[in-house]
Amino acid sequence: MTPHSGRQGWFVRRVVHGISGWVTLLTYLFMLLPIVVLIAFAFNAGKSTVVWTGFSFKWFEKVVSNRNILDALQVSLIVALASAAVSTAIGSVAAVAITRRSFPGRDVLGAALAAPLVLPEIVLGVALLVFMSFAGMILGYTTLIIGHVLVSIPFATLIVRAAASSLDPRLENAAADLGANEWQTFRMVTLPQLMPAIFTAFILSATLSFDNLVMSTFTSGVGTTTLPLRIYSMLKLGITPEINALGALMVLANVTILLLVMGRYLPLMLKTNRR
């Protein structure tokens, strides 16, 4: 290192990093402040989400005994898990095929799988409803799951594709040299390396489905009111800390899942990305 570059280093450290540091700090305040306020007011004794009147757990009690919310939660969980499973499965297989096999129209398929990402969801939702009624499908779990799969499949495919394309082919060649057949190689070498990505794809797909409102509006049917749909109708009757309590519980559940499960996979995932 020359003294010259040292001065450069100082500039980059102080000014460029300085600006980015401040922007980052403010951005995180901006992103997290509403969440902190939201969770704080979940413990409000009064009915307001603005004026603090005292500490209480009553809104939590209220929300966990609300039959409508529990029913909707169940629907949302079923749909999130099922749609994430389907979209991860289909997306992973397609991702592996796209990165490992050559076939005509490979680029087209790759682009087509990413298409829902850039199709306005409302257009896709309306198109699906129009098509499903045209095809005589009954609205319910099946239609809801199909809709959610469409929303999440681009993410699932892209994540697994990124991981599959960064795999080291030498490992697979080595396995083949050691006498493993194709299937064994895939199962013992390729798949374990893809697992973190597949898992991430699953979690992300489930999250997207759990939060989805637009697609659910058009594809839900009898007895399949999802949580976001239920919350939407609750907003109309007035925002009470019950909604805050629900939000606080969601954060709690997600942090728990993340710490329990992602803690194991995340370092692995980031390592693959870094390479």
Binding site: K47, I78, T225, K236
Partner: protein
């Protein structure tokens, strides 16, 4: 292998979900959020052993779109008056057999023969209310009595209109002295101009959380459906609901049986149940919306039974129009409303 496993898992989940056990009797209702208390549904289930699924919608429009798609699977639906007309025209509703509704005669005389469905052939009125305005006492100096206040420069930036074409035109038409149900293109055009001129004064169009906005003082005056602000009135004495002197309008949310209802018998049982005076009283008490059963009035606590926001007096009601579907004239409203929405 994992792929196949998860695929198999997903497939069997789907299979399980679609194979609904047909043991207990089911009733599937598609209704307004907040107008049917959970207690009433639970009591009905306990008494009859029928399993009720109650899904909610948040506007007549989204409900119609869903039913229009066909094969909805619902038995009962809960449309407002103009939506009843549309659903009849779309062939979605069955002609009701009144003899199967044991408590049919409990319906008050004014609701026995409604204009949008003569003779209640396709729909049974259940709850009703009005479209008027709500204001926060702390930010107005004198009581508000007229739609004109929604067009008053004084409240600039503190006014919200309902984000609903038909509702917005009630104010736009009545403030000009026209009927809220006019089919006259010139009158609709005039109302459109009024609404466009009003736009710079508005904080916005809102049919979601307007009750919160007026209760918190964010808004001074909001155009409002009576049922939506009643909870805010109970919680905050500063909130007042009025039916404006120009008339305002009345709405009725009733129940109709769908042509493809899987279980119409259970639907009739439900209709007979909810029209019982004690059940109607419970509905009014818990949701703070008026029901069509006069015999339920004596059973109500005074603060609800004598609350003019819940039960306006006869003279006020007589002044209020019903919003109806106007068939071909809807085109003028829609073109006008698009202009209003696109105006600066």
């Amino acid at each position: 292998m994992t792929h196949r496993l998860s695929l198999g898992l997903a497939a069997s989940t789907l299979a399980l979900l679609s194979a609904v056990p047909a043991l207990a009797e089911d009733l599937r209702i598609y209704g307004w959020a907040g107008e049917m208390p959970d207690e009433v549904l639970a009591d009905f289930e306990a008494e009859t052993g029928i399993d009720v699924t109650f899904d909610t919608f948040d506007s007549n429009e989204s409900m119609i779109a869903k039913l229009d798609a066909g094969g909805s699977g619902y038995d009962l639906v809960n449309p407002s008056q103009y939506a009843v007309q549309i659903l009849i025209n779309r062939g979605k509703l069955v002609e009701l057999d009144h003899s199967k509704i044991e408590t049919y005669d409990k319906i008050g005389p004014t609701f026995q023969n409604v204009s949008y469905d003569p003779g209640n052939k396709y729909s049974i009125p259940y709850v009703w209310g009005t479209t008027g305005l709500a204001y926060n006492k702390t930010c107005v100096d004198a009581p508000i009595t007229s739609w004109k206040s929604l067009f008053d420069e004084k409240y600039k930036g503190r006014i919200y209109m309902l984000d609903n074409m038909l509702a917005a035109y009630i104010a736009g038409l009545q403030v000009n002295g026209f009927s809220a149900n006019t089919s006259d293109p010139a009158e609709i055009e005039k109302a459109t101009e009024t609404l466009i001129a009003q736009k710079p004064l508005l904080a916005g169009y809102n049919s979601t959380n307007f009750a919160d906005l007026v209760s918190s003082g964010e808004a001074c005056i909001v155009q409002s459906w009576s049922s939506s602000v009643l909870q805010a009135i109970v919680d905050n004495p500063d909130v007042v609901y009025v039916l404006p002197e120009e008339g305002g309008t009345m709405w009725i949310d009733g129940y109709s049986i769908l042509t493809d209802a899987p279980n119409p018998d259970a639907a009739y049982k439900f209709l007979s149940y909810i029209l019982r005076p004690e059940v109607a009283a419970k509905t009014t008490e818990l949701t703070k919306t008026a029901t069509v059963v006069p015999d339920s009035m004596p059973l109500l606590p005074a603060e609800i039974g004598e609350n003019p926001a819940v039960f306006p007096d006869e003279a006020t009601i007589a002044n209020a129009d019903f919003i109806l579907d106007l068939g071909d004239a809807m085109k003028f409203y829609q073109d006008g409303w698009t202009k209003v929405k696109a105006a600066p």
